[in-house]
Symmetry: C2
Subunit: 354 residues, 2 copies
């Protein structure tokens, strides 16, 4: 029997089932735009200390739910926990984003990295998931997540963030077999990791493919989408008597929606560069859609935020299969009051479409 959930709108909408109002959450909803997050992070010393301490990770996960009427919680963690567990030495330099002490570039490097085992290598993540589920007490579902193999690999090979992905694209083009070996190891690690999150209590999972959109169409299929397909095929699809929906989100993937919608996931995430009416026409009979307001709209005045929410709801139109979200993570300089206006507007303005 399914465990009780006081609010299951999010899970229902992911599976294109009827709901009373459109559910909403925000990518990076637990994060730097919240003063209570900044306070906790400053106490913790750094970002990884927050991730690796299950009680702190739980507290951070729940912070936005205390403020806003969100329809889902998302595990507070990072897409680079897996390569960190592989021994690459993740660290964060102020203002420069994530870096690795030991980037992976040669055949020997790739041979040497292990496939991770979450129970053994990433227990802090699983402990956080269990603790968050306990603290949520059935209020809303908890989303687990991982980076896509391609996206995670960009950081592993480049050694950090990159503008044009010169190193990994060179590897991809000059040694595709090595690139595939690396992506294979990351994929196996991701499957194990997401399944462990599901067993620990994640009720839906999202794969973040932040950098798939930097590839040409045929490289996207071969080096990013193929591995997300493999992951989706390897995931636990039912737990606690309930289906575990899978969301795949490729930023800048709007041109490739049809192929993405065929990867086996239940829901496709959209960034803000596509009109969601077009997306629904193209793939809405196959999967649900998540998105897609430009996060920058949260810099606007409340009436403008409401107008944009109304426009996107109108574009999607009537019926099931829409989870409202931003088209990317919430920006750090957004006023939390504007996030509240956004979330309330989704619930208030969407009732008439259901």
């Amino acid at each position: 029997m399914a465990t009780l959930l006081k609010n299951d709108r999010f899970l229902k909408a992911l599976l294109r089932q009827d709901v009373d109002v459109t559910p909403v959450w925000m990518m990076r909803q637990a994060g730097r735009y919240l003063p209570e997050y900044r306070e906790l992070r400053s106490k913790a010393g750094n970002f990884m200390n927050l991730c690796q301490n299950s009680e702190l990770a739980c507290e951070v996960t729940l912070q936005p739910l205390c403020r806003f009427d969100l329809d889902a919680a998302i595990l507070f963690s990072d897409i680079l926990t897996i390569p960190d567990a592989m021994g690459l030495g993740l660290y964060f330099e102020t203002g420069e984003g994530p870096k690795f002490r030991k980037p992976v570039r040669t055949e020997a490097d790739i041979d040497a990295i292990p496939v991770t085992n979450a129970e053994k290598d990433l227990p802090y993540v699983l402990d956080a998931v269990s603790l968050i589920r306990k603290e949520l007490n059935g209020d809303v579902p908890l989303i687990g997540f991982s980076g896509s193999p391609w996206t995670v690999a960009t950081y592993m090979v480049e050694g950090g963030s990159s503008k044009d992905f010169a190193t990994i694209k060179s590897l991809m083009m000059n040694s595709p077999e090595l690139m595939h070996l690396l992506l294979e190891k990351v994929s196996l690690s991701v499957i194990d990791y997401l399944n462990a999150q599901i067993r620990a209590g994640a009720q839906a999972v999202q794969i973040f493919d932040t950098w798939g959109g930097a590839l040409s169409p045929h490289c996207y299929k071969e080096f990013s989408l193929a591995y997300m397909e493999k992951i989706v095929a390897g995931l636990i699809r039912e737990n606690e008597g309930r289906q575990v929906p899978i969301i795949v989100f490729t930023k800048n993937g709007g041109l490739w929606l049809e192929t993405i919608a065929n990867c086996g996931a239940d829901c496709v995430g959209l960034d803000w560069t596509i009109n969601i009416a077009d997306a629904r026409r193209r793939i809405g009979d196959k999967v649900s859609l998540q998105g897609n307001m430009d996060p920058s709209v949260l810099y606007a005045k409340p009436e403008k935020i409401r107008a944009e929410v109304g426009m996107i709801l109108e574009q999607f139109g009537s019926g099931a299969g829409h989870v409202f979200n931003l088209g990317h993570g919430i920006h750090q300089h957004v006023d939390p009051e504007h996030a509240k206006v956004f979330i309330d507007a989704v619930h208030e303005l969407s009732a008439k479409y259901h």
Copy 2:
């Protein structure tokens, strides 16, 4: 009567007229990947000294043509010459890209900036155009260019490069009338600037909309495309007895090709995230297409470069209306020999499609 051109493939292909082989040039073909460029720039002291000295700008423009069998030259300059001439104080910090000493953010700032007059405010650009034309001696056509108003405005408002365009998007959403006033002034300046380049000898012009793709579809139309349309409508379309084709290139604009193709330009530039066969099917009966190999392919081995060129030619298929290019500027760490392989491959492998 049209002035003589020894090679007019590029102009013909832009107008969808028959050619013997597919013409090719590279965005940023005069630039840092060439050792002779780095030498000249180091002598000049900095980038703006190179742009502002017509003889040096001419020399840099011609450098890639000495090495490669290119079908067009492009004026060596920068998309930020106009705001520099408006008095914003352009400078370049090593490794950080362009910056402005006086960014434009308030109503007073926007009121204060002038519409520029190229003959008076940017004579160094026009002198460079005349000189390059003279030195080219009819070998290949010369392309003039400008940034799109939206793209230029992002730098003016942000004060430099930006990741999420928080400042300009706030301005756009909270004070759209001010945003329009700024874009209007930039547009009028661009029309004057491109027409002056045409009168000085530019035989085709390209509008670079590098950051239009950061907008949502409706904001793209209102704040970027509308101003490119206005510019296209204001340009000299015939000079020296020959049509002056206009290319519009919005990076990450693949979802909006139909509306872009309606802006009045002769050619639409494509980045590498779209399959050019799809682009041709969508808009190829209306405009010519320019693109679209991922610049990172030039990191690959010669045989791989040739294979990618062959694939894109095959995707476009037979007939007129294709100018081969990279999907964005050539990267600075590319081996010039690989650029040569690329250019020669386009000519060699394309003959059978004409």
